[in-house]
């Protein structure tokens, strides 16, 4: 039963990550992505998925999808119907699932973040509805498969499990909120294991939307740069398998890291603009450190939301400055959106996975395009790939509507 659900009677269990999968414009899988971030490469390129000829900006972190999917339990017709977003999700999930060693079960909750689901199918539905109003050819499939629950159901079918599917659409914080919620499910005793993450595929409506807001950089996405002028969009997915420490240890699973803190807060300032002082971001980071029982001085690295828009970065810089205090002067911060773009509903999950790479491999990914750090940053913005000793990493995700979320991961050693 969802309610009343199994609740812990003792201290909350520790929650560890035992599987991780990632797909971005750097490629499919941990190795390709770790290499890309570690070297500070930039994977942005001209968009080919839809017409951008009349847009101000014409580049994004578009992914070259593999021609075939890995073997799963999906039937051939099911595979054929998968849209781009579903494919991204299943590719990332496959890597995480294999690594975790999990077997299909009847009660595996899934918590995913997305902003658009299969929006490209919705766009195709609309184009046909306008251009051929009396033709319903292919339209039923588009209606069903553009919805986010279709991608989640495909995931369940692909790996043969049952369980509640929770789809969080908190704009660009969706992925972080999804992981945070999954963490809470395990901590509360409502679940022993949860599959979680975020995904989003590039689509015309969203690309044009950010362009209409003049939020896309017409030059180069340069988070925290004094002359930054906007963001770049990207696409991808990241999936994590979370479970209690006891569960992982009982089955001798390899533990990749521990999630120790989560905070979420709403910025009521404006639908698309953050409070300039970063009040809600500060609240989310504070809540995350409090739930982890940590102080900012114990955090060794921040993977910032760092979109590269003038307003986001100043608000986030102010929030980090206020939250970290004197610690800011030595706290390395970077935004990996400079390399792969802003993955919207997938961003929080992908950036959590980047923190996992940082903790596992002990290096810091750079803000690869940074030239002249904004003086508002009291903290060092990582400009070059570098080795580091990192015990705790924090990742921020902020979204339209004022959704703010922070997660803290701890190295497993």
């Amino acid at each position: 039963m969802l309610f009343p659900s199994g609740q812990r009677s003792s201290a909350p269990p520790r929650v560890v990550i035992t599987g991780a999968g990632i797909i971005t414009a750097f490629g499919n899988g941990w190795k390709l992505n770790a290499a890309g971030f570690r070297q500070g490469r930039i994977a942005l390129k001209p968009v080919t998925l839809f017409d951008v000829s009349r847009q101000r900006v014409k580049i994004a972190g578009e992914m070259s999808l593999p021609e075939s999917l890995p073997e799963t339990r999906l039937t051939a017709p099911q595979q054929k119907r998968l849209d781009r977003a579903s494919r991204l999700l299943i590719l990332a999930a496959h890597e995480a699932w294999k690594q975790s060693g999990w077997e299909p079960t009847d009660n595996l909750p899934v918590v995913l973040g997305t902003t658009s689901g299969g929006m490209a199918l919705g766009e195709a539905f609309y184009r046909q509805a306008i251009s051929a109003p009396h033709s319903h050819r292919s339209q039923p499939t588009r209606v069903v498969h553009y919805q986010a629950q279709s991608q989640a159901l495909a995931l369940a079918d692909a790996f043969g499990f049952h369980g509640p599917l929770t789809l969080i659409a908190n704009a660009c914080a969706s992925g972080a909120n999804a992981i945070g919620h999954a963490w809470e499910l395990v901590r509360s005793g409502a679940a022993q294991r949860v599959l979680t993450g975020g995904y989003d595929a590039l689509c015309q409506l969203v690309f044009a939307g950010f362009d209409s807001l003049q939020a896309l950089s017409p030059t180069q996405c340069r988070p925290f740069d004094a002359r930054r002028d906007g963001l770049a969009l990207g696409e991808g997915a990241a999936v994590l398998t979370l479970e209690t420490l006891d569960s992982a240890q009982e089955r001798c699973a390899e533990i990749l890291a521990e999630i120790v803190g989560y905070g979420s807060a709403l910025d009521t300032h404006h639908l698309t603009q953050p409070n300039p002082q970063g009040d809600a971001a500060l609240a989310a980071m504070t809540a995350a450190t409090q739930s982890a029982g940590l102080s900012p001085s114990q955090i060794d690295y921040i993977n910032a939301h760092g979109t590269g828009t003038p307003m986001n970065d100043i608000a986030e810089a102010n929030a980090i400055n206020r939250w970290a205090g004197a610690r800011a002067a030595t706290l390395p911060v970077s935004s990996t959106k400079s390399s792969i773009g802003h993955l919207l509903g997938a961003a929080g999950a992908v950036e959590t996975l980047i923190c996992l790479m940082v903790l596992r491999e002990q290096w810091l990914p750079p803000t690869s395009t940074l030239q002249e750090p904004d003086p508002a940053c009291n903290f060092p913005v990582v400009q070059k790939p570098t080795g580091a000793e990192v015990e705790y990493a924090l990742t921020n995700s902020f979204g339209f509507g004022g959704a703010n979320a922070s997660l803290i991961l701890r190295r497993w050693s």
């Binding site: 306008i130 109003p133 499910l185 709403l266 339209f400």
Partner: protein, 341 residues
């Protein structure tokens, strides 16, 4: 786990703004009139049961955030404020940490269609004012801003069963002490694009729009309208489980039929679509209400109306308990059980 009580409910439906008009329409048990909804490129209109703008215009619609919003945000705020009642003031004063859980299936479809149409015509002039309203969580952001609450604020998407998942998640937040009270809102807005999407599957489906809201607190029975007793598992539609099997499993997790119990089901009066749910509840011979037959297929709003109708009936002491059955369109079957206080 804590006990969870419903302390308020709100509704915006084709019957009007408020729980009262909705309850009246359900008691009269006559389907609301169907209105024509023009569909560009067709000579014949689609059919719809749509919320009519409130008269007089409520004060909240003059709030800076809500002047340009699409109907879904107005539906959300209308239902939310009714459910909160006087506690809205306490939230605004910071005396109550209010969690907000918005559940939608189609979401802000009016503005999404309008914006994408502008993009196809000329992206350079596509409106930057419209785009942000297309985002799923825009209505939840607006109600948070209107009330001035920075607390937990989630938007969940999925088929109509998601509303009951939202109620369960709110119960989790309350039990964990993350919030003092929580609003769970299910909402939709009508548009020819969504109507056509359903028309493709069934010529008889008549979409409706609006919102329903439940206001929850933990461990406070005084003044409560009803108590949340159970929410079943999510019974997904998967390769090895169709709607019929899923509906039966959800049914089996809820209490059996008692003479003083009520069933708020999701039947529309369309045998082909209703089949799995009708079969699952075939043995129910006590009272039953079917809001969709009267108000239309309101998707996420409809599952919220079912809960609101059940809770309102319990608050009037007409029944000792009520089951709510949601057999969603393409994700899951799920149910809930509420009891009178």
């Amino acid at each position: 786990m804590s006990r969870i009580f419903v302390h308020g409910c709100g509704a915006v439906s084709p019957a009007g703004w408020g729980v009262g008009p909705m309850r009246k329409a359900l008691e009269e048990n006559a389907a609301l009139p169907i209105k024509p909804l023009p569909r560009p490129g067709w000579t014949k209109p689609l059919n719809i049961r749509q919320v009519t703008p409130p008269s007089p215009r409520p004060d909240f619609m003059t709030h800076a955030r809500l002047r340009r919003t699409s109907p879904i945000s107005q539906h959300v705020v209308g239902a939310a404020l009714e459910a909160l009642g006087p506690d809205a003031q306490r939230v605004s004063k910071g005396e109550l940490r209010l969690g907000i859980m918005l559940c939608v299936m189609s979401g802000c479809v009016n503005y999404s269609r309008r914006f994408y149409d502008e993009v196809l015509r000329e992206p350079a002039t596509a409106s930057p004012l419209v785009f942000p309203e297309t985002v799923f969580n825009a209505p939840a952001s607006h109600i948070g801003a209107l009330l001035g609450t920075p607390a937990m604020n989630y938007t969940m998407v999925g088929d109509p069963g998601t509303f009951l998942q939202g109620v369960a998640l709110a119960a989790q937040w309350l039990s964990a002490g993350q919030v003092d009270a929580c609003l769970v809102i299910g909402a939709e807005e009508a548009d020819w694009l969504t109507s056509e999407a359903y028309y493709i599957f069934s010529r008889q489906v008549v979409l409706g729009d609006g919102a329903g809201a439940l206001y929850l607190k933990k461990d406070i029975a005084d003044g409560a309208l009803a108590e949340l007793r159970a929410i079943t598992d999510c019974h997904l539609y998967l390769q090895n489980q169709n709607r019929t099997k899923a509906a039966a499993r959800a049914r089996s997790q809820l209490p059996g039929c008692q003479p003083d119990h009520l069933l708020a089901d999701g039947l529309q009066g369309l045998p082909r679509l209703d089949g799995p749910e009708a079969a699952a509840w075939r043995d129910w011979n006590a009272s039953r209400i079917s809001p969709k037959r009267i108000l239309g297929e309101g998707l996420m709003a409809a599952s919220a109306w079912q809960c609101v109708a059940a809770v309102a009936a319990l608050a009037e002491k007409k029944y000792a308990a009520a089951n709510v059955s949601v057999v969603g369109c393409n994700q899951q079957a799920i149910g809930a059980h509420f009891a009178a206080t």
